[in-house]
């Protein structure tokens, strides 16, 4: 088990070193996320007043779109020098390699969300500090579910010619349940009378999806990558 975590940590450290040096994925993802939120703000905020109940949906749409961009760019980097194959050739547990890539992706998306959430709160007057821990929990659980499947698909598609088209086509239908749970849970927190019970229900559902998706991805990563 310690070998699993050692390999995953090596991959995370390597990914972070590469990203700190290039800032390529963080900068493009962040720029894209801020642009999306601003465009929505021009459409849904009239005379300083946002439309009712749109903040949660805009937050999760932006997480999904920017996450897809980050997944594509991260694995494009592994494709350019075929380094994903070098990782697969190492005598390490292949699920540990997947776990390392997943954690790297989660850290990246968390960084983007740190900027994204206050921006949505500011532009759409969403009460992000009303129940910060519940909101953080929903975001963490939803991001994990999205990234778990996204990392698996992005790794699978690394050598596919039409990977940029196939990734969203495969990813969005699979992660619709995560997005629905994320939006409904967040909306329950953002509404004028917050419904903690409803938010808790959607959070529990997200945790269930996370367990299913992460287990499925760890189980299928090796056969999918060698066939």
């Amino acid at each position: 088990m310690s070998a699993f975590f050692r390999v995953a940590a090596l991959v995370v450290r390597k990914d972070l070193t590469v990203e700190v040096r290039s800032l390529e994925v963080v900068s493009t993802t962040l720029f894209f996320a801020v642009t999306v939120v601003l465009i929505f703000a021009f459409g849904f905020v009239k005379e300083g007043v946002p439309m009712d109940g749109v903040a949660a949906a805009i937050l999760w749409i932006t997480v999904a779109f920017s996450g897809t961009l980050a997944l594509g760019r991260t694995f494009e980097r592994e494709r350019q020098a075929d380094t994903l194959r070098a990782l697969m050739l190492a005598p390490a547990d292949r699920p540990a390699l997947y776990a390392g890539k997943l954690v790297g992706m989660l850290l990246l998306m968390a960084l983007v969300e740190l900027i994204l959430v206050p921006l949505v709160g500011l532009l759409f007057q969403a009460p992000i500090f009303r129940a910060p821990l519940r909101l953080a929990g929903l975001l963490a659980a939803g991001t994990l579910g999205f990234a778990a499947i996204g990392t698996l698909f992005a790794a699978m598609l690394v050598r596919a010619r039409s990977r940029d088209v196939l990734l969203p086509v495969l990813l969005y239908p699979m992660t619709v349940p995560v997005m629905i749970a994320g939006v409904r849970g967040t909306a329950a927190l953002f509404q004028p009378q917050p419904d903690a019970g409803m938010a808790q229900f959607w959070f529990a559902l997200l945790v269930f999806f996370d367990v299913v998706f992460v287990t499925l991805a760890l189980w299928t990563f090796e056969p999918l990558m060698t066939d």
Partner: protein, 234 residues
């Protein structure tokens, strides 16, 4: 640890849907053998290397590493395989030393940093060890990539176009390095188009055309002559 001194492909094939990339390939390589995979682009050389490297599952047939198969041995078998791909398998944003240390640690080498320094010394790149790989010429990258493939002392070495981008002196140095590995008993399988460079180096040649092995000509000319004859005869 899974060790072996022969590698044999027995009726190995690979298809993608209805397209056959490789059909019924068989050969055996023993300790110290250098096997050349020769053929035009798209002949199936890289596919065969990927199957030998356990990166791709064979659709038919089996590859045996001594008494082991890739399914049975898994990670411990991969620890005995080194591979240099056409795309070099290096992170351009990391320095040469960081690349080697990362892969050394991935292979669970206890002295990865020391091994990386020794490898860079061998490659004649000790002075550039902390430079990013992105700043290297193709030839320098190729030398680092070869050291990466050899870092963990593999028993089976798989090389895809190892002479690409190398000048004459570097190519000669690589041939010398392969002979050293040969003397250590390493089984080397390499795919190349640089026929003049590998003439006299190979113990066995597998000529591939359209994913199938074609018969080696009986004539005793240069490798280039035999290659032409094999490709035209089929």
């Amino acid at each position: 640890m899974s060790d072996f001194d022969t590698v044999s492909a027995d009726g190995v094939g690979r298809h993608y849907g209805r397209r056959r990339a490789l059909t019924n390939i068989s050969f055996t390589a023993r300790a110290g053998d250098i096997v050349g995979l020769l053929g035009h682009n798209g002949a199936g050389k890289s596919t065969l290397l990927s199957i030998l490297g356990t990166l791709l599952a064979a659709s038919t047939g089996v590859v045996r590493y001594g008494g082991l198969t890739s399914d049975a041995a898994g990670a411990s078998l991969r620890a005995r395989i080194g591979m240099l791909g056409h795309d070099l398998f290096l992170y351009p944003e990391l320095s040469a030393r960081e690349n080697l240390v990362f892969f050394g640690r991935l292979y669970d080498m206890p002295e990865a940093a020391r091994a990386a320094d020794a490898a860079l010394e061998r490659a004649g790149l000790a002075a550039r060890a902390d430079d990013l790989v992105s700043s290297f010429s193709r030839g320098m990258r190729q030398r680092v990539a070869l050291e990466r493939a050899l870092l963990h002392g593999p028993r089976l070495l798989l090389l895809d176009e190892p002479f690409t981008g190398l000048d004459q002196a570097s190519a000669a140095a690589l041939v010398g390095r392969l002979r050293e590995e040969q003397a250590r008993g390493v089984v080397t399988v390499l795919a190349t188009h640089d026929l003049d460079v590998v003439d006299g180096l190979l113990n066995e040649v597998v000529f591939l055309q359209g994913g199938k092995r074609v018969a080696a000509p009986a004539s005793a000319g240069t490798l280039r002559d035999r290659y032409r004859e094999a490709m035209h005869a089929s």
